[in-house]
Symmetry: D3
Subunit: 336 residues, 6 copies
């Protein structure tokens, strides 16, 4: 099986224990994650090889971040260790009607200051079947956007499938360029995207016609018209009950057809970070393993549901565990 390559920033996540607030605590729990690297790590756990390209400060914190993915079997040999600081974020985990909150401290990170020429994409993508990136990466800095563009170009040149989670975060775009200018050419190079109606409107000015019966389909039809390379658009519908109770469904528009799964109910939610990344890795894996879109989409959604029960950003579950859920075993009976 050929490897999947991801590119993006890995940050240190610092959380108070349990549901404590940031002003209450004297210790913080540490994990490491990034929207793209999480996909790589979850894929390795499912059984597909993966490599991640990124940039870390040349200190103990950078090493610890990279080691946490190397531990899981992600090939980190294309990572660069240059620069001063690791991007951080502080996560306060909510409960019930109190939402979880994130305080970012990621500006001027080693990744933001990367130089595109540090990444030789022909070499990094050698023997790869897949390149995956997220809309967070080009939002970080001009050089990060440039490197993303070069990676996509190389992938296209090498005939490698490209996917993106377009994931528009308004607050992140602070280096002087507009997402609306930067993203379209990047997305134009993708075969698959994760995109919601909101993302499509914000980034591409695509409005699902008012009165459309299915706004996702309406959006998707316009998206594929605008970006003809795109063949598959997927997303999760979140029906968030509370910070502790989530309900999700997978949806897809693939080759002109709409697909949808059953709802998966998650109560309690152990950790919601990385829920979308696990959906993507589930879909990439599922698309290789199953012959039908319906199965791949159900696998992806079941994988994402399971992720909500795992601490940290990464979906530490095997394909067999996902299939156990797919087969309807959601009652959580003890396995001996």
């Amino acid at each position: 099986m050929k490897k999947v390559v991801t590119f993006g920033e890995i940050m240190m996540r610092l959380s108070p224990p349990l549901n404590y607030r940031l002003t209450q605590i004297s210790s913080l729990e540490i994990t490491y994650g990034g929207g793209d690297a999480n996909v790589a790590a979850s894929l390795v756990r499912l059984g597909m090889p993966a490599a991640h390209a990124g940039c870390f400060p040349d200190n103990e914190l950078g090493q610890a971040a990279a080691q946490s993915f190397q531990r899981l079997g992600v090939d980190m040999s294309h990572c660069v260790f240059k620069g001063d600081r690791l991007g951080l974020y502080f996560l306060e985990v909510g409960a019930s009607l109190r939402a979880s909150r994130i305080v970012y401290d990621r500006y001027n990170s080693a990744f933001a200051n990367l130089q595109p020429e540090w990444f030789n994409w022909d070499e990094i993508l050698k023997d790869a079947s897949y390149l995956h990136w997220t809309g967070i990466t080009p939002a970080i800095s001009a050089t990060a956007a440039q490197a993303t563009a070069e990676a996509i170009q190389a992938a296209r040149r090498l005939g490698i499938t490209v996917s993106a989670d377009v994931n528009y975060r308004r607050n992140l775009w602070q280096y002087g360029q507009r997402a609306q200018d930067v993203m379209p050419p990047l997305v134009a190079g993708c075969d698959m995207v994760v995109c919601t109606e909101g993302d499509a409107e914000d980034l591409f000015g695509i409005k699902a016609e008012p009165g459309a019966e299915n706004s996702f389909v309406a959006m998707s039809e316009q998206l594929v018209q605008r970006f003809p390379q795109i063949k598959r658009i997927i997303a999760t519908r979140r029906n968030t009950q509370s910070a502790s109770h989530e309900r999700i469904r997978g949806i897809a528009y693939i080759d002109g057809t709409f697909h949808e799964t059953e709802d998966f109910d998650i109560n309690p939610v152990v950790d919601r970070i990385g829920g979308g990344d696990s959906f993507i890795s589930g879909f990439i894996y599922g698309s290789q393993k199953y012959s039908t879109v319906a199965e791949a989409l159900t696998f992806a959604t079941a994988a994402s549901a399971l992720k909500h029960t795992i601490h940290g950003d990464i979906n530490l579950v095997t394909a067999a565990e996902v299939e156990h859920i797919m087969a309807g075993n959601t009652s959580g009976r003890l396995l001996r």
Copy 2:
């Protein structure tokens, strides 16, 4: 904005981690709280200045207790450090159908042994707009009851609004006087009270007429007749589903009119201690901020609902966070 002054005992609370039982553990988690001081601390967090008057043993435990409120910005300069022991209680947190339990160890505390003359109320209440006390304080000792009476008298003399959480706890009254004798003159000096039908019956012999459509209104009508100074009576209706699942609603009888909020659903409950205190601080704050009783009561109830998701006795939430809930954002979606 003028300050709110509270008076009462602050105790050390010792709890096993998570839901462990007291006989299972080798460490106890420590917080500090008191029904009145909790109101002060929550108010400061909401944005109103507050001071607390109390008495602590002259040792490290007394200092730690006082510092935990000073840290949050409560003015503790009127506290007295005399005596030997800090009142303690051991809290075993239940789960599902197992109730939480409290084992008190508070007799003979420094606070119980206070001398009324240690508190110069004219000075303490200078520049205050509000005095708040609870029915626990006069239950502790004759001197504590005496100091409460003096505080109320000073407040009335100075034209300061007085509120009380009447909060009758039968077991506490052990120093030789009856609550039924001590409480009425104190309550007579109040402008606002938190009082349930049960409290009114136990303390004042007020029985909501059988067959009354709304027992709270029936009780309130009699209460204001008996204590004409009282203009506002508020309470929460708890519809406790389990030790882990609570549903609350705010009710009020104000100037002859009954008010009631929607239900707020809290599942899971992180910490129920201080739920009533946060309701009161929410109402005091809300009454200043909003022009209608309905808004103030909704603010108070939303604040109390949020408190159930916070560890410890004190409602560590901002007014903006309460308003986010008031606006119907109870689904707990991640805030970045």
Copy 3:
């Protein structure tokens, strides 16, 4: 009150904190338990004397295991300390739709290598009214099965009531004998059994007739016909909603009559291990205390429901706490 005697293996249980996976953690939480010893310990807590006979390695781990039961008041004086290793199991606690999982590491334990002659049953059972064992014990090794048989024979000889949780676990039977050969003569010596339809089919080839209105009754009728010593058959019906949410009901077939309790809803589940053992200890205690089967069965089921809220294998609740639940107080209101 005469004592209850149990016989079986006590293992060290090692669990990641909270819901972490085994591959994520750097510490493991330790408790000790065994399906039979758990019954003894829970009984002592309820108020009946109990003794446990077992075998531990002659090292610190064996001592720690035995001490954890001695601490609770179980008479451990009949235990033997010989052999090299303590049986272990690793428990990964699930959440929501992710099931809990157990990884066993119990082969070649000190208990598996016991010699039947180390146990003088006439002495151990002196002054006992009850012997309880589980189907796990004869599954461990030939000598453990032999000792079980000798214990049952001694109990019968001394006129002591015998009960068993037949608890068939296919994977455990690995020493060369078939459960279907070993278990019937042991079960033949029992007055009471915990047995589900699945157990009865797997072990004794008893099939509840297809179309039977009540499969438990159908199974029970055949069971008492086959083993005329058996007078009472009890079980719990688990309606598992998720790894975090359980619903249980008690059922019994006693002297030809079927009994059934209401459902008890447990959400969240704190710890499901030992739920069956607490049902049995509840029934043994309840049968002594109450005059009706209905009460004993409700006590047993309420006890088991409470166990799901307690960390560890043992039901650390008093009879008064169970009766509080029996009386319908399942809303978990704070007890001061």
Copy 4:
């Protein structure tokens, strides 16, 4: 081997983790101990049977305290569960030149309020060879002093050896009687005492002559003259280097002869509480096992040295481990 009986209060000890100060922490570590019960528990660990008589509040804290000794095999069946509160103390562990500090909160404990008639000494001391008490017990309350006197009388009547750690603590004597009046008749009934020159001067007005070459011998000669029942006087000489570094030596005056061990160097000290109690249990055990005083004293001192490396009040070491140290193996080489 006949059992040793101890009598006295067991308290909950609450300590900040590591060397934190009481004002810094949000959790406290819990252990249970008492100067006399520690002797019982350490003896059981060494291999002698022991029982403890005491009084605990009838709540979870009292149970937990008693269970912690029952776990180690001390017979707690003569303990009484009546009263409201468990005595507590807060221990702040120092380091280097910062001394450890204790804040007591033990007044009005269940033990202080015991009634002497709750203890049937003839029954408790049946089959015992030894009664041990400490000077702390008669300091707690008049009834505790009375019960101590009755225990000693019963022991004398039954021909049981009596020992005491006279352990004078000025601050404790607060119930209206003077140690100088209460202690002499109690000490008069002892066969063995732990007593320093300071204790002897404070309690009995015995001054080692100025200029005496060996003040301990000078004191002992007067002590045996005054209390002719006493045959053995033992003590440790502490040469405290810092809160983290201790050096101890055992000394004894036995049948007119002075004995002294080598110094034992302990660096770092893990926990100094119970160091004296472990010396006593070591001497009681050693006196039975060895034929010479020198060996018994060396065993006792080695046991006490080892105790300083064990967390908690109790000397959790085997006789073999003490003998390993006695044999000069103090270099701490890894044992596989």
Copy 5:
């Protein structure tokens, strides 16, 4: 007693538990500190009022940092909450021959971006007797240096004593100005400085003449000649044995006379951060309390020695505890 005012940055300090390395851990312990604010907090604990002026990001982390000093009684009312990030540093605590290491992440902090006009020094210094700053503050940014200069000018104008810990850290000076240009005019406004021979050479080009018997005196003589306002120069001599074992001595050159204390031996060192700050606060306090320089210097050095036994940056000791050490009680005997 008039208050001491300090000015400078407070950072979050994140340390692995115990002596773990940064690449090994999954949680970090949090405290807050700053070279100047530590002086303020330690002074309050000793008994002198103190206020701190600083700048924090307007988020939970900024609040937590400020609250940690407010908790100890430092007046934080002159602090400004503007900006995005809190300065951080990661501290890896060494042991024995492995040194402790710090990884800074403090650039672009809210403090670095402060505007001098946010601080009204006439108001801040009202009723103050003392202004203290450190050489770290002007190293952070041009605006921080400017604010420092304005504070010193105001203090001089108001007749307030000024002290500084010159504390030259080469790596910090990165905003384009040289310490050698910025520091002299600031130091010229000081009455007292902490300064070592190395600092004097690096910052002011002052070389203690080779062959000088006492290099500190040689340096001091030149320093007072160059900066005639300076009357007192103090420092500690560290004779570091290992990361776990420190030996310190206080030295001073005051009004032309050299003073020196005995050595204080600290083994083990619990936490060396803030050792210098506690020396300064000890000297400021001691100078007020004692009539001789020798006593003040011994108090300061004893205070600093004690600090090495306290977790965190701040010297949480009372004046009585320091005097206990001054009086020679360094053996660490248990205090009851």
Copy 6:
């Protein structure tokens, strides 16, 4: 730089927190290590590539064990995942005069049951410059001994340097063959060995002549005579002061010449496990980097000294950190 290959068992190590005893605790800290794999991991940290071959159970525990080395960059791709259980050991960390103790539970592990044919040594050793093994591996089982022999043969055939830590542990040899028969042919294939006089006598009957001035040289001379392939014999001299204080020196007999380093003093010892393995990895690395034996030996000993300050089995230090110590910087001054 060519890689080093190691072969052997990796076990889970379970330790009570701090210095607690196994009978005291409710959690165990987990690390993974093995005498040979520790060498590989430490080498990668120093800067040399390394691969480890081993065998793990096909479950979460096996994965966790392998991942902990993969995290550090050891190539684990030649490891086999077959079998049921992971070898375990329980480590009780002593203090001062109480020695650390290990309780093994490693029989019948997946590694013990390996089949030699699972390891294709020509492939595993491709591009390697070094094979390292320890005397523990052939002690585990006949198949492990056989695989070791095959690895050595392949290495000799491929011209790869072979080293061994002969490390004789009497208790381990339990599968029916004698170390004295199995080890000599394996050692005969080595170029370098770690061997003490005790090992040489026990395994090879080599006695250093009585009266020899330097017993290590006397032993070494005989050893190279008996095994002419051996050119380098190295060892550490441990002068263990206590469980908390170690003093080590490196010694070597290389090409007929004796070398010896200064003493390194380690106080306190954080973790002594892996001290020997870090010496070996230090020597392998040092021999490549330095031109003289003296430097290599000093590097190795400094590395081992540093290891004693690191938690866990593996020497998580860089070459620069070791060189810092080599250069005499052992005072542990804070590095900013």
